[in-house]
């Protein structure tokens, strides 16, 4: 094992799967970054360098720079998937799904069901989520709850380099459309990651910490906020079960309910908004199926219902932090 960044882990998953299967192609805006210009053909390797080096190894038939036309190239990726390729398409910022929503939710998600199971759509859509770079509300949202609404899609929210590599490998090998949500603040996080590709099954939460007093469910980068909060709470004698669902569709409801059965308390930490989000979804799950085990009200730690501002002080107010998680847990424990 070698320490690798989240960025490298994703790159390695792509390289490994492209070597393994000639049907895997990569397409998106600037995935090579330089098509047709007077400089290098692979100048960028993705807007944040995640796909660097792939063009030189796999060539322009398999690494395709696209124009800025998300509806066109996401639609093309869906068609290519239904016709037997395994495209990995880069939506860049998940906020841009606004211009290709029909392709993602009406075409990709429904191609199998609406046509009676005749086809499969082995498509992976990579996309960046998350706030924290002062780049305002059209580059910073976390829209995995929106994707999770749609039956037919699978949705992944890896919180670490190890999970990113394993989940992306599984996504590319999977026969359904998968939305792979990369948190942009995690790209430089390092962790031991095996060199070879390995797969992590969908729908299996990761239990990061065990404790009897409270269940904390956290998603994507919020896993790290919750980890810090749990350490603070442990010094106060409050021990938390910390669960990272890793995939929101399918969702490991069993692990969440089992944990709440043992602790009787639930705090959910989600960087997506407070309305119709994963926090609301998980709260509803436990209210319906785990109500009898609850010893305190469920508390959601989410941003407020507001577009994400660019100003550093305002954005910091937006993103849930350690203090808010600690306060929420203290509240449910004291209830």
């Amino acid at each position: 094992m070698v320490l690798k960044t989240y960025r490298q882990a994703i790159n390695e998953a792509l390289v490994g799967e492209m070597r393994r299967d000639a049907d895997v192609i990569l397409m998106g805006e600037d995935v090579a970054g330089g098509a047709g210009g007077s400089g290098e053909d692979d100048a960028w390797g993705g807007p944040l360098g995640v796909t660097r080096g792939l063009l030189s190894e796999f060539g322009s038939d398999r690494v395709l720079d696209t124009p800025i036309s998300e509806a066109g190239f996401i639609g093309a990726a869906i068609g290519a998937a239904a016709a037997g390729l395994r495209p990995v398409v880069d939506l860049m910022f998940n906020d841009f799904v606004g211009v290709c929503f029909d392709q993602v939710v009406n075409q990709a998600a429904k191609f199998r069901y609406m046509f009676g199971g005749q086809d499969q759509v082995p498509l992976t859509i990579r996309t960046m989520i998350g706030a924290g770079l002062n780049i305002s509300s059209q580059h910073s949202q976390s829209l995995y709850p929106v994707f999770s609404y749609f039956a037919g899609l699978k949705v992944l929210v890896p919180s670490s380099p190890y999970d990113a590599k394993g989940l992306l490998t599984s996504a590319i090998r999977d026969n359904d459309p998968v939305i792979f949500c990369e948190h942009k603040l995690l790209y430089d996080m390092v962790e031991d990651v095996p060199d070879e590709n390995y797969s992590i099954p969908f729908g299996e939460a990761n239990l990061l910490r065990e404790g009897q007093d409270v269940t904390i469910v956290a998603l994507s980068r919020m896993v790290h906020v919750a980890t810090e909060a749990a350490a603070v709470l442990a010094r106060e004698g409050i021990e938390a079960d910390l669960l990272d669902p890793r995939t929101t569709t399918p969702l490991d409801t069993e692990s969440i309910l089992d944990s709440v059965e043992a602790t009787g308390r639930l705090v959910i930490v989600d960087e997506a908004g407070p309305r119709c989000g994963m926090a609301s979804d998980i709260a509803a799950l436990v209210a319906e199926d785990g109500f009898g085990h609850l010893r305190a009200p469920i508390v959601k730690v989410t941003p407020p219902h507001v577009p994400i501002p660019a100003a550093p002080n305002l954005e910091a107010m937006y993103i849930p932090d350690v203090a808010r998680v600690v306060e929420a847990v203290r509240r449910v424990v004291a209830y």
């Binding site: 398999r62 068609g79 239904a82 016709a83 075409q107 046509f115 082995p122």
Partner: protein, 299 residues
């Protein structure tokens, strides 16, 4: 279908292809098993032209369990993967983008296949159409986009909705050949599509064809069509019925005799009777299969 729908018993919306038959027939004459035809929501005619089983087509229109799509899609979403018929679509311009993908896969995998996207005039102003045409051109994909201009996008006239007044002219902006042809003449459509499909197969890139067709019925069945004069559809039927024109043409050219055409018409009328009888008698999809076919691993 017009009569059956009026009598009740056909679930959902139905959009008829009547008047446009020469378009799908002229396209499909040039397609082989390795090719993909992207269907429109006016889906029945193209499905039959592509060779889908007419009983399965009718059963899907009636949302029956052994319809083409097991009753999940209905009239507007006919899809028959085994016959290279894809994705009749409510997102009306999406066929162009999906077609780019089918064409890209054909080229990448070296199958020699082409994709043809059938799109209505109502879809031409959607962004995804321009995006798909652009992508097809810069990637030189084996794609032919056939715009069936029946004069109306739902209730709004193409003349009002389409800037510049021509779909075919837009091809020039995308650097591909564009032609406008009379869709009431099967032979004219077929010749134009044949040229475009050959070009795509040779690897010379995409083409655009605008096929002028009449729409004999409303946007959907039950549409009172108050947005157009009653004379308009009647005149179209009198002057631009592609089936009548085909018959006249092949008889006068001595290709077929009236008697053999009458024989075929009689067989088709009989077949249609059987199709309706069987489709209406077929069972709806089993309740127990409600949640199947969502994911590849769920069934």
């Amino acid at each position: 279908m017009h009569v059956e729908f009026a009598g009740g018993g056909v679930p959902g919306f139905v959009h008829l292809y009547a008047g446009q038959e020469a378009s799908a027939a002229g396209v499909c004459a040039h397609l082989t098993g390795r090719d993909v035809l992207l269907n429109t929501h006016r889906a029945h005619g193209p499905a039959i032209a592509r060779g889908a089983d007419i009983f399965a087509v009718a059963k899907e229109i009636y949302c029956r369990g052994d319809g083409l799509c097991r009753g999940r899609g209905g009239s507007a979403h006919l899809h028959d993967a085994a016959n290279g018929l894809w994705a009749a679509n409510s997102g009306v311009g999406s066929g162009v983008a999906l077609g780019c993908g089918a064409a890209l896969a054909a080229r990448t995998k070296g199958t020699g296949g082409v994709a043809v996207a059938l799109v209505g005039d109502g879809a031409v102003n959607q962004g995804v159409v321009s995006e798909g045409l652009n992508l097809a051109s810069i990637w030189k994909l084996p794609l032919v986009v056939v715009f069936e201009n029946n004069g109306y996008g739902e209730a709004t006239a193409a003349e009002y909705a389409i800037a510049g007044g021509s779909i075919a002219h837009r091809a020039e902006a995308f650097g591909m050949p564009g032609h406008r042809v009379d869709g009431s003449d099967y032979f004219v459509v077929s010749e134009s599509v044949g040229t475009a499909v050959s070009r795509a197969r040779r690897g010379d890139g995409p083409s655009l064809i605008e096929v002028d067709v009449p729409r004999f019925f409303g946007h959907f069945e039950g549409d009172a069509q108050t947005y157009r004069s009653p004379e308009e559809a009647e005149r179209a039927r009198r002057e631009r019925d592609c089936l009548v024109k085909f018959r006249e043409s092949v008889i006068s050219d001595g290709v077929l005799e009236a008697e053999s055409l009458d024989l075929i018409d009689g067989e088709v009328a009989h077949l249609i009777e059987r199709v309706y009888t069987e489709a209406k008698a077929a069972p709806l999809p089993p309740d127990s299969e409600f949640m199947e076919y969502i994911y590849a691993d769920s069934h």
